[in-house]
């Protein structure tokens, strides 16, 4: 699978090990090129390219303050980019196709005095759904998600998790074709996080494109076909989850009887010891030469496992690499 994603500075930034993959045959739900946004002289987003095919689940990953929310706001037309173009279902002005989009902002908000079903209907009305139909669908959605008993309760009477679910249902009530969720898992307990993952999967099965931002990587790893990693306002990586994982060498975990010996010289220099275990990236030469060295050096292998890198490792490596590169570039600029 391919997210048909490229970054305008990918080749320069990422060096070897990654190339843009050929374009997906599916039409694009979102296409952004060179998005730039500054606030008071501060570049919050600095040349972001994203392409998301229709029907995909796509993750925008990044540490806090990386520019995820600003990117999403630009994609949705809440704010305009200073530079670059964005298209949602082929339209430059996302408001023109407001009925096709559902958006859950990071800062959850509902009118406290409104009844749940009214809140959902109102959010549908904002997207063009008649109030009467919104109430009918709202009641149905609440029932389906176990909140039927709360339909006539005021928002202020709900728990935080329930209110968040109501808002999510309000995001979906008009049956959008693109759902954008900004940090949807934050503030939810483990059970509700699981429910939300199921909802996202169900949406994708119905052909809805889902984009969500998060700084908790394992949600993206479980759900997404593709991800864009944002760090310092740039996108150092955008592509499939698999390709991101492949960018990091597999990790070897080794347990030996001997603690010292000549066999240690066969281990890579960045080997870390954690209790009885040694951790190091799989050498480029492969496992066989290593095994031979360990055996000849009488390491006394008790256990050895090779684990493929997770998205979290890839994220840390890519984001860290991007941050280091940016710092070096800034220092160079300051020195000049």
């Amino acid at each position: 699978m391919d997210m048909a994603v490229s970054n305008h500075e990918t080749a320069g930034n990422l060096g070897t090990g990654w190339t843009a993959q050929p374009a997906d045959a599916r039409p694009l739900a979102i296409e952004a090129r060179g998005l730039v946004k500054s606030f008071d002289g501060t570049r919050a987003v600095d040349g972001v390219d994203i392409s998301v095919p229709e029907g995909a689940i796509y993750g925008i990953l990044g540490p806090n303050g990386a520019g995820k929310t600003t990117t999403l706001r630009m994609l949705l037309g809440i704010i305009d980019p200073d530079e670059g173009v964005r298209r949602v279902f082929g339209h430059d002005r996302p408001h023109d196709i407001g009925r096709l989009i559902g958006y859950l902002p990071e800062e959850r908000g509902l009118y406290p005095a409104m009844k749940c079903v009214e809140a959902i209907a109102f959010m549908g009305a904002l997207r063009g759904l008649p109030l009467k139909e919104g109430r009918r669908r709202g009641a149905e959605l609440l029932e389906r998600h176990g909140l039927g008993h709360a339909a006539d309760r005021q928002i202020r009477q709900l728990s935080k998790g329930m209110a968040q679910t109501v808002q999510l249902l309000g995001t979906l009530v008009h049956q959008p074709r693109l759902v954008v969720l900004d940090e949807p898992f934050s503030g939810l307990d483990a059970i509700n996080q699981g429910k939300l993952e199921l909802m996202i999967r169900a949406l994708a099965e119905d052909g809805v494109t889902v984009i969500f931002s998060t700084h908790v990587i394992h949600h993206a790893e479980r759900l997404c076909e593709g991800v864009a990693i944002i760090a310092g306002g740039k996108v150092p990586y955008a592509g499939s989850v698999e390709a991101a994982r492949d960018r990091i060498p597999a990790q070897v975990r080794l347990e030996t009887r001997a603690r010292e010996g000549a066999w240690l010289s066969f281990l890579p220099p960045d080997t870390r010891r954690n209790g009885d275990f040694l951790h190091f990236p799989l050498p480029e030469s492969g496992i066989e030469p290593l095994l031979k060295g360990l055996i000849e050096g009488e390491a006394g292998i008790l256990s050895l496992s090779i684990e493929r890198a997770g998205l979290h490792d890839a994220f840390v490596a890519i984001a860290g690499e991007a941050a280091a590169r940016q710092l070096a570039a800034d220092n160079e600029g300051a020195g000049a």
Binding site: G65, G67, G90, D96, L100, P105, G233, D330
Partner: protein
């Protein structure tokens, strides 16, 4: 590429309607609206108390005088009869005062005297005790015809069995004096307009701050254009204000029906005596409503912009203070120019959008031309649109940002230099 379907978005009007409908219902059934309705009660109570206290103290000084321009015997008889009746009838009788200019002057012309608005008489009695004539405006004649007949009857006989009929002699106020009296209408209209707009603009501001507190503003901004959000909010509050005005109007009508005379007695203010505006009462009332709407929309749009940029109630108060002061200044400017029609200052007050509705309402009271109002209303509507557009642009540019997350290259450069 997906093509735009015919109904893939709400029109700006539809979007504004969604916001307006929600806000209207929410505000109408809120406690804030109750306080809004009670708002004018406080100045009325304070004014009423002050008026009654002041009225007691100055009753003699402000009592209404009816002049006597009769023969000296008749004048003396009228004064004596009035003094005899005063203990029983009190304030129902006017204070009868001989007109000094008429004493010993057979050519004294009471009509000319009234039209020149000399003296301080509500009306003047001429003729004889048997056939008195009352000279004054129609309103004053209607009010004092009965009491004058009563006094004349008692002047003729200690225990009268019949009362002479009083001949009315209404006067038309001269153009010059009419202008002077219309200023009063203009001033009252301006004051009403100012109080209403300030009350409402404050409400729209607190409504938006509450919305920001609820963090729903981003959902609105994502779904529909921000200017539609602003427009919806403005018109919702305008509709709320019309409900409020209707309630106040009904309450005032009820109060007036129940005790209009008492209110006139205590306050000394009789709306029946208010000079008719130059454009006539029906058009003046209609223009008053339209100018109120414009004044509110202009100030409301300004306050919405401020409210959308502020992050807390305290910040709103700080930011809105200069605007409130500005509004006071433009009100004073408009009030000041009432007496300077056609001056450069009046033109400036008309041209400046925030003072324009006030200046133009005063103009409606003073000048009969109507076309000027069409021009002014067009200009004010344009100013509203520009303010809303500017406010929504500012909101999108300055408010929807996620803090200082990005990298400040200049700052970093300084730190590493």
């Amino acid at each position: 590429m997906t093509q735009q379907t015919p109904r893939s978005r709400l029109t700006a009007l539809e979007a504004a309607w969604v916001i307006a409908r929600r806000d209207f219902v929410a505000v109408l059934f809120s406690r804030a609206f109750l306080f809004f309705l009670l708002g004018p009660l406080f100045p009325v109570i304070v004014g009423g108390l002050a008026g009654s206290i002041g009225g007691e103290v100055q009753r003699e000084a402000v009592s209404i005088e009816v002049g006597l321009a009769m023969s000296s015997d008749d004048t003396a008889a009228m004064v004596a009869a009035a003094e005899g009746l005063a203990p029983q009838l009190g304030q129902s009788l006017p204070a009868l005062r001989p007109v000094p200019e008429a004493a010993g002057n057979p050519d004294f012309d009471a009509r000319a005297f009234m039209e020149a608005r000399r003296g301080n008489y509500a009306a003047i009695v001429t003729g004889t005790l048997e056939a008195p004539t009352l000279v004054g405006t129609e309103g004053q004649i209607a009010r004092w015809q009965g009491p004058v007949s009563l006094v004349a009857g008692h002047a003729l006989a200690a225990e009268p069995t019949a009362f002479p009929s009083v001949l009315p002699d209404p006067v038309a106020i001269s153009a010059a004096s009419e202008r002077t009296t219309r200023i009063q209408t203009a001033q009252i209209a301006q004051m009403l307009l100012f109080l209403l707009t300030m009350l409402l603009a404050g409400m729209v501001l607190s409504n938006l701050v509450e919305e920001k507190g609820n963090k729903i503003i981003e959902i609105l901004a994502a779904a529909i254009p921000m200017d539609a959000v602003f427009m919806g909010k403005l018109f919702a509050m305008l509709a709320v204000s019309f409900v409020g005005i209707a309630v106040w109007g009904l309450a005032a009508f009820g109060l007036w029906s129940a005790g209009g005379d008492a209110i006139t007695q205590v306050t000394g203010f009789d709306p029946a005596n208010l000079p008719a505006p130059a454009v006539g009462w029906p058009l003046f009332v209609a223009l008053g409503i339209v100018y109120f709407a414009m004044a509110y929309l202009l100030l409301g749009a300004l306050f919405l912009t401020i409210g959308s940029m502020a992050t807390s109630v305290r910040e709103v108060q700080t930011l809105s203070m200069p605007v409130t002061m500005l509004q006071l200044m433009v009100f004073f400017l408009a009030a000041y120019t009432i007496k300077q029609p056609g001056s450069a200052l009046e033109m400036a007050a008309i041209a400046f959008p925030l003072s324009s509705p006030f200046a133009m309402l005063a103009r409606a009271a003073m000048e009969p031309e109507v076309w000027t109002h069409a021009v002014a209303l067009g200009w004010q509507a344009l100013a509203v649109l520009l303010l809303v557009k500017g406010g929504s642009l500012l909101f999108r540019k300055r408010v929807m940002k996620s803090g200082g997350a990005g990298r400040d290259k200049k700052r970093r450069g300084r730190l590493t230099a």
